[in-house]
Symmetry: C2
Subunit: 369 residues, 2 copies
């Protein structure tokens, strides 16, 4: 691609056509299933990518930080779910967003958080829209699905004045341990079953209104038929995908929409290594260098390995045999396919979107909390 | 500290008094040795910290990116060394800085880079101030000190019209493999000896002008007497220090000036874990979780371990035995001492500087390249 010559490196480039394809396929997949897609913004944190993921509606998104929530609200977004265990230092900021937007949802998994909401009733006859996080064996946040306290908390939420139990939310992050579609579908089925069983319990307890939502990029890339019984899904990474997702089996390597461009800045034949101008400041340490090709895949060069990084330097060597330095003159641009797109994108204050061999836009993500 | 209640977490806090102490001791140490301290900005990338490290002179600094160089130049800094193997995509930006500042230095370690400089002579009778990078067995950038091509390149630089061989630069990053002062001093001595031997070779070849500089936080925290024969040193991390530096032996744990504040956002007695609101987005993956306490030291709680992180969540458990959840009510603020301050600082768009129990300033680092 001609434009690679013009960009100062390291640079995060985003293939706009792949982004549109990944986003479009996910929209279509869940439209067919009759399930609302509520895409997660945490991977990219940009307005442009959000517009693509929501099909231009600017409605119905999930965010991981309040900084994201405010950023999207400031740009005309609404129906925003802050899907993070309510942090007590941020209740007032959440209240302000809830009072300002038509729909601002929060999430909790414990009664102490519910008490915090009671202390801060919303103005203008608004109610707190609360999703209860259910842990369907992922083992991060959430009340364990089989624990009697889960139903109790749901009842407490639904019986609290000024608070509405809007939904039940499960993150199937345990799909990240899968290898291949079959394993992914097994976890997707399990999470769906546990969630739907919990919805049944709610119904038996006389609680009929709440929605149900599960999500992760692997499970939403290979949904099981029972997911059609859910109200929503909330994957995020799929818009970019990455090497990790291809190894899990969520996507093919050719679906990965992001790269970090880097340049050769040194030849060291005495140790059979090149230096490139991308260190962990441009790629992150995610993945721990455990790929056969180290910290990334170097596109078009399966013989190379990104062996180690310091802040701004990357050491590249061959997986075996002598490096042919004449193939990589000083200044040569290499293209790194990141192990984890969320972590890599986080390192960049600007992304360069390209289409048909040209840079067509620069995107600026929101940072902070 | 009272202010911890008022900050939204995760938050990077900087102990201003420790920063001043760390910076002051380094300035004094090299003033006594009669060696110019040229502090590196890469760890913090802020104006405020640079002012402290330069003792207010706003002169004589090292940077790792051109974004830093421009940022400091825009704020009245001069005598800036861009100590990074000249990337060919940035020659024009370097030329502009060289033409604008009284002293803007670049660095190179190969003749292809010298050719790039020849192609872009500086205007207004300015010359390129070039430092040649010497690899004194660190094994990253630099011409190997014992390689005859090192002297040849130095000669080529000094004989090129419009270019001045300003100095010889070695980074003793191999001190990061040390344990304790004795090992640090052995590497410092070796790097100093190799560098001074090379300066002798230059002299014998009739090249008398160039300065010499070595640096790394470990070696500059424990300099050997021979370092008095160098012109300059260029450490950077020392202004913050971190857990890694305390393990190497550069500092005591109580010298570490930075923390990430985080809050308890979940109790999970069934798996003996807390969740905190700091994931890798607030701490980085640096260190790989290999500390006995995981990814960080949790201040005042040697019994706790930051076991794992996702983007915005950290899982905390006890190193052994049952967690006493009553000690950590929801919302409790914990203070994480980072493994690697450079990597952690990189994740934050704002740092909160505190002194005597109060937030006294917010610092905004420069990002990008």
């Amino acid at each position: 691609m001609e434009f690679t010559k013009d960009l100062c490196t390291p640079a995060l480039i985003v293939d706009l056509d792949k982004v549109k394809k990944n986003a479009g396929e996910m929209l279509e997949r869940f439209q067919k299933l009759g399930v609302q897609l509520r895409p997660h913004m945490k991977t990219h944190k940009t307005l442009e990518c959000a517009d693509i993921m929501t099909g231009g509606s600017r409605r119905c998104i999930v965010v991981s930080t309040l900084a994201e929530a405010s950023f999207y609200a400031d740009h005309g977004y609404d129906d925003i779910l802050y899907a993070y265990p309510l942090p007590f230092d941020k209740v007032e900021r959440c209240a302000e967003l809830a009072e300002r937007l038509t729909l601002f949802h929060i999430l909790l998994d414990n009664s102490a958080a519910l008490q915090e909401l009671k202390k801060r009733p919303l103005k203008n006859s608004k109610v707190w829209h609360v999703w209860m996080k259910l842990d369907c064996d992922n083992g991060r946040a959430g009340v364990p699905h089989s624990d009697p306290s889960a139903l109790q908390l749901a009842q407490d939420i639904s019986e609290t004045a000024g608070v509405e139990l809007t939904g039940i939310y499960a993150h199937c992050g345990n799909t990240y341990g899968c290898k291949g579609e079959e394993q992914i579908k097994a976890v997707a089925q399990e999470t769906t079953t546990f969630t739907l069983q919990f919805m049944e319990k709610l119904k038996l307890a006389g609680i009929q209104g709440p929605k149900s939502s599960i999500g992760s990029t692997p499970s939403c890339s290979h949904p099981v038929p029972d997911m059609a019984m859910l109200s929503e899904v909330h994957p995020g990474n799929y818009v970019f995908y990455d090497v990790q997702q291809s190894l899990i089996g969520s996507c093919r390597l050719e679906d990965v929409a992001v790269r970090v461009l880097t340049r050769v800045i040194g030849h060291y034949p005495h140790r059979n290594q090149l230096l490139v101008d991308c260190g962990w400041a441009g790629l992150s340490h995610d993945g721990g260098g455990r790929l056969p090709t180290g910290y990334a895949i170097i596109e078009g060069h399966p013989e190379l390995k990104l062996l180690s990084m310091t802040q701004e330097h990357g050491r590249v060597e061959t997986i075996s045999g002598q490096l042919d330095f004449s193939q990589f003159p000083m200044g040569t641009v290499l293209s790194l396919m990141p192990y984890h797109a969320c972590a890599t994108a986080m390192m960049h204050p600007v992304y360069f979107a390209h289409s048909k061999g040209k840079i067509v836009a620069t995107w600026k993500p929101i940072r902070g909390w």
